[in-house]
């Protein structure tokens, strides 16, 4: 890439040099100027927190005695798999919609530094979905504790494993949104990207059981399995037959998936015709 010094002085509008923050601001304008974005987010927040309320209400009758904090009551898989689905698809849509309409060409003429565009999109997507994930995760915790607290079964945030579960659930959304975004850049076609995102994030993990070692390794390398492990606050039973993922390993999965997806996207987008 050339530096600004090589740009001939033919420009008429005087302006500041290329700043990455301007790109981020530009992508943020694109994000918030679509009516579908706030709707998708609002519905998801309501649904996921609602699923926690339902799980807490149902758990209330089923439980006998105080078993401490039950993570799947505050963070029920049904609700969080929906969060995976929506964040993955909306993350993908931020790029797929540009490819679908051809807007990507207008964008690329405006910003020939294609890799920077992908990174700016990733920055906006990560920030937005971290905020959404934090709201959802905190909301889930508070709602479940409000229900359980009535039965004197609530736990404080300082309870072992609770904070980790909250953070892991909050970060699940940006992790999946970035994977979706990366897949969107790689595949470009809307249907193909959606199917691949759903398959990778939700369908693939159950295919690999935890009984055999190799299969467990693959399973544990999946995002939804990592989330499950991070939310689970009891230590694995040493006598158990299944292989269990480690907590640091699961955090690593959280980092590597989005990082790989975005890095591949940046590499590919620079080499391919738009």
């Amino acid at each position: 890439m050339t530096t600004l010094a090589s740009v001939p002085p033919t420009t008429a509008v005087t302006g500041s040099p290329a700043r990455f923050l301007d790109l981020v601001a530009s992508e943020w304008i694109k994000m918030r100027s679509l009516r579908s974005t706030p709707w998708a987010i609002a519905l998801t927040v309501v649904f996921v927190i609602g699923s926690s309320a339902v799980a807490a209400l149902a758990a209330d009758g089923a439980r006998s005695g105080s078993a401490g904090f039950l993570p799947y009551v505050a963070y029920p898989p049904a609700g969080y798999w929906t969060l995976i689905l929506v964040s993955g698809c909306v993350g993908a849509l931020t790029v797929v919609s540009e490819y679908g309409s051809g807007l990507i060409r207008t964008t690329t003429v405006a910003v020939p530094a294609r890799g920077s565009v992908v990174l700016a999109k990733a920055a906006v997507t990560a920030t937005l979905w971290t905020a959404v994930g934090t709201v959802v995760s905190t909301g889930s915790f508070l709602v479940s504790q409000a229900v359980l607290g009535g039965q004197d079964a609530g736990v404080p945030l300082t309870h072992p494993g609770v904070f980790r579960a909250l953070v892991a659930s909050a970060l699940l959304a940006p992790v999946c949104a970035l994977i979706g975004l990366g897949l969107g850049v790689l595949l470009r076609h809307s249907a193909a990207t959606m199917v691949t995102s759903v398959f990778t994030l939700l369908m693939l993990p159950p295919m690999f059981s935890e009984s055999a070692r190799w299969s467990a390794v693959v399973h544990h390398a999946m995002v939804s399995a990592a989330w499950k492990r991070l939310v689970q606050n009891w230590e694995p039973d040493p006598g158990s037959l299944g292989h269990t993922a480690t907590v640091p390993g699961s955090w690593l999965v959280y980092v590597l998936w989005p990082l790989t997806a975005v890095a591949l996207a940046v590499l590919v987008v620079r080499r391919r015709d738009v």
């Binding site: 033919t10 919609s97 003429v109 910003v111 738009v274």
Partner: protein
């Protein structure tokens, strides 16, 4: 050196198909240059390569001496309208332009200025999805003008515009060129260029056919012909052929006409008078740009009607 577009031995192959074939030409500032060719001639592919969207198989294209893709931000260097549909239908015109302006560090007020300029100020906050093709073309032109660039490229900008819009856009192109900018305009319609362009780059099947002024191009095509209407067509044809003209029958039976090339109208009239042949019509036809274009590109039309390929 000004804001010159230079295309040098540009070639693009898709699999076995060659879309652009060793194309070289130069587009200079201060005038409107038309980029002309039949559908599928490779115009859009060439424009995409100039803009760095597609990588050439071989060859190069530069704008002001630099490959366009080397600029981190593009709007201040080249403004382009490739396809009016390249917007997100869910966004308003103002939001679309604001996002683009912001990405290039262009102040927000410039968005209002260009919307005013293209006549979309009143619908600035309406969703682009509801725009007509003509309105989308105007929005695309607004996008191109956003960075006040020295080079402007438009791919088929007049498609879908109403007559008032066509007049407006022609005046705009002329004005932009008069301001010293490089204006490069593609079209498959010759008539459009006749009224807008000073220079022409004509391609067919990805190859250069001509790169010259509109006037020179018109002169290259069909020479002036004279149409003669007469009830004694066979007799006149013999006389004119003997005088060295080329005669082709025209018109229908009962109202026969002859298209004569190689003799001026006054000479044809004199020959007819000398031979006591009655003339009903004697019309001089100047060579049209359209005819020149058809003639020159006839061999290179990619998709021809009624012919098995």
């Amino acid at each position: 050196m000004g804001a010159v577009i230079e295309v040098n031995e540009l070639t693009k192959r898709y699999g076995g198909r060659t879309a652009v074939d060793h194309l070289s030409f130069t587009v200079r500032p201060g005038r409107v240059t038309g980029f002309l060719g039949p559908n599928g001639a490779g115009k859009s592919t060439t424009l995409r390569m100039i803009l760095g969207l597609d990588a050439p198989t071989t060859g190069s294209a530069t704008v002001s001496g630099v490959p366009f893709a080397h600029h981190p931000r593009g709007l201040r260097h080249v403004g382009a309208l490739l396809d009016a549909g390249q917007v997100h239908g869910g966004r308003s015109a103002a939001a679309h332009l604001s996002a683009l302006a912001r990405s290039n560090g262009i102040p927000r007020r410039r968005v209002d200025e260009v919307l005013q300029e293209v006549g979309l100020a009143e619908v600035a906050n309406r969703r682009v999805g509801g725009f007509s093709l003509g309105m989308k073309q105007r929005l695309g032109i607004a996008t191109a003008l956003l960075g006040d660039p020295p080079v402007l490229m438009f791919d088929e900008p007049i498609n879908g515009m109403d007559p008032e819009g066509v007049l407006w856009v022609r005046r705009l192109f002329r004005r932009l060129a008069a301001e010293g900018r490089t204006v490069f305009l593609s079209s498959h319609l010759m008539s459009e260029m006749e009224n807008t362009a000073d220079q022409l780059v004509v391609i067919g099947r990805g190859r250069l056919i001509a790169a010259e002024s509109v006037r020179d191009f018109a002169a290259r095509g069909t020479r002036g012909s004279v149409v003669v209407g007469t009830p004694q067509a066979a007799e006149l044809a013999a006389v004119l052929t003997a005088a060295g003209a080329t005669v082709e029958p025209e018109g229908s039976a009962g109202a026969e006409k002859l298209a004569v090339t190689g003799l001026p109208a006054d000479r044809i009239g004199a020959l007819a008078f000398e031979n006591r042949i009655r003339l009903d019509e004697l019309t001089h036809h100047t060579a049209s740009l359209e005819a020149a274009f058809m003639e020159l590109t006839a061999d290179s039309v990619e998709y021809q009607a009624g012919q098995p390929r």
